[in-house]
């Protein structure tokens, strides 16, 4: 009976050496969005972007392992060990290396967003494990088909192309099969879409079974080398694609769905400020937020509630895109955007008036920000014309400012209302 290859001679160990610095490089390069502290869902989902490296290692390592078995096809046919044991013995180091690197990827993401007591998203972790298995099986199949000189680079290229190309095409369903779209999950008011997780996991697991059974046939582990190319593997692959596309059909371009608002934790005396527990992990800002909102003039209409959400203000209350660690100025600016609404009014009117409306909108947001956080300083990044308009408004007496703000707010909601100038 053949002695299993010892761990120290597994090719994936060599691949780990360049993979670790590459993972760190990719992690640094992908650190573009603001981290969401306290949310394990966001941390695990964001680590999916780094799956490119663990998947490449698992795929290439498996291709090299399969190449080793491929050179011994004649021995495989008469092997007394179970084909399953032989396959598992060949693939486990590559799979373990992929999982290890992905754990490192989660750690790298968590380093920027540590803390909190949210639950670990088991579904997302399961989907990631299934995605890695798919890449591993694809590499193993390539190694069973081709010589290592071609199989290893093609396994690497396939792994990246599958993740990358599907994410770049306009047909959304393959994105959910490839799984990279899970990276788009989730702000605090969102949760992973169950169908997105199910589509990625189901497709990956059935395709993995197809590729591994085809590989077992090609490598002579099932006795007859060529017969296994058709039959069961083809059936499994068709099932994988059909089931995956069926599950992914109702999904859009992202893998998120709104989170149940029952999880909101509300507090406040005159205005209820509602945040999710993860947003409260590093300190409770609700009193601060309530005080800011109460500084708004009642003439503009005080909201009954402030809700943690990225969406536009609703009848339920004002929305706030709150991330732990935000300064007073940032909170005030986010609240001001909520008061004003993110949707720019589309009016059929002369360009000059549209520009004036936009400038009034910018100035109103700056005015609201200063009103809510007077000690935090002015909002930066405003266009010079809007900044000049804001400065002029701030020189007006208090009732003049209020009149201007009311008129400006109205002009942003109704095309028939002319945007006010600074003297009104």
């Amino acid at each position: 009976m053949r002695v299993p290859v010892p761990l120290r001679r597994r090719p994936v160990l060599v691949l780990l050496l360049p993979a670790v610095p590459l993972l760190i490089l990719v992690s640094q390069a992908s650190r573009t969005s603001d981290p969401l502290p306290g949310s394990w869902t966001w941390t695990v989902a964001h680590s999916v972007l780094l799956l490119i490296v663990p998947a490449a290692v698992a795929s290439t390592g498996a291709a090299l392992e399969a190449s080793r078995l491929r050179t011994r096809r004649a021995e495989n046919v008469v092997n007394t060990r179970s084909p399953t044991i032989v396959l598992l013995s060949a693939i486990w180091p590559s799979y373990a290396a992929g999982l290890l690197l992905q754990t490192g990827a989660i750690g790298l993401v968590a380093a920027t967003a540590w803390g909190g007591s949210s639950a670990v998203p088991a579904g997302l972790l399961g989907a990631i494990a299934a995605l890695l298995a798919f890449h591993l099986a694809a590499g193993f199949l390539l190694g069973s088909l081709l010589r290592p000189v071609h199989a290893a680079p093609l396994a690497l290229a396939f792994s990246y192309c599958w993740l990358g190309f599907t994410g770049a095409v306009d047909w959304f369903a393959p994105r959910h099969l490839a799984g990279l779209v899970l990276e788009s999950c989730c702000f605090y008011d969102e949760q992973p879409h169950g169908l997105a997780i199910a589509a990625a996991a189901a497709f990956s697991l059935f395709a993995t079974s197809a590729f591994l059974s085809a590989s077992a046939g090609l490598l002579g582990l099932l006795g007859e080398p060529r017969a296994a190319l058709l039959g069961l593997p083809s059936l499994l692959l068709v099932l994988a694609v059909s089931l995956g596309l069926l599950l992914a059909r109702p999904l859009g371009s992202t893998a998120t769905q709104p989170r149940d608002t029952a999880g909101l934790d509300c507090s406040g005396t005159r205005i209820a400020v509602c945040l999710y527990p993860e947003q409260l992990a590093s300190g409770d800002p609700r009193q601060r937020i309530e005080a800011m909102v109460l500084r708004l003039p009642a003439a503009l209409g005080l909201p009954a509630r402030v809700l943690a959400s990225r969406g536009p203000a609703t009848a339920e209350g004002l929305t706030l895109r709150y991330v732990p660690g935000m300064t007073d100025l940032q909170i005030a600016a986010a609240l001001a955007s909520g008061v004003q609404g993110d949707q720019l009014l589309q009016c059929s009117e002369p360009t000059a008036r549209t520009i004036a409306r936009e400038q009034v909108g910018d100035a109103l947001r700056g005015w609201l920000t200063q009103r809510m956080a007077p000690s935090a300083g002015g909002e930066s990044g405003m266009e010079p014309t809007a900044a000049a308009l804001l400065a002029a408004v701030l020189r007006l007496p208090d009732d003049g400012q209020l009149r201007w703000a009311s008129a400006a707010s109205a002009s942003l909601r109704d095309c028939a209302i002319v945007p006010p100038d600074r003297l009104s």
């Binding site: 290859v5 001679r9 090719p11 060599v14 360049p18 590459l22 490089l25 990719v26 390069a29 992908s30 972007l49 490119i52 490449a56 290439t60 090299l64 392992e65 190449s67 080793r68 010589r147 290592p148 000189v149 071609h150 290893a152 680079p153 093609l154 690497l156 290229a157 990246y160 192309c161 990358g164 190309f165 994410g167 770049a168 095409v169 990279l180």
Partner: protein, 197 residues
Amino acid sequence: MSFALRAHGFRRAVLIQLVLAALGVSVGGMTLPFPSLGGTGTAGLPVPVLTALAGSIVLAGPSAAAWPAARTNGVRSASATLIAVLGLTIGPTALLCGAVALLLPGAAAADHLGVLAWMLALQLAVGTWISARHQAMGPAVYVLLCALLGRSGSVVQPWAWPLADVPSEWALVFGLTALALALACLARFGLHLASTP
């Protein structure tokens, strides 16, 4: 040399090279959408980069197979044979690209040839210093790095020059210079045979 040409699939490689060159030249201006971590969304990979990558990978198998199984006194002649066979394999592609470049100055013929030479140089460098069997990993990893990290905003990193819109003559000079250096190393040291598995 004629045995090497016949026995290790170099003739088939010539045909594949010509097809890839035709593809690379005919759709040279096209980019395929691949996500870039440092760039602006899906900046894309130019088609000549992918055809050149495929061209170099095609040559990896015959090159490794044509090399003697052990380092012997015949290493020098083996190097000369391999270099000559590689030259004969790429020769028709070079002629095709040269002809297209003369007839259609705007086509991406020189780009394809320059990038192919650069990829082959990387492949031979890996084959000489790391592993003959896994030499094709050199250009494959390079293209992966280019796709992922080759852009910073809208700027292409200097090391990822095949992604940039460099003048054709510069692509050709840079690629051929690198290939000449790689061939010199190959002639001096031969392919590296110790590898796993």
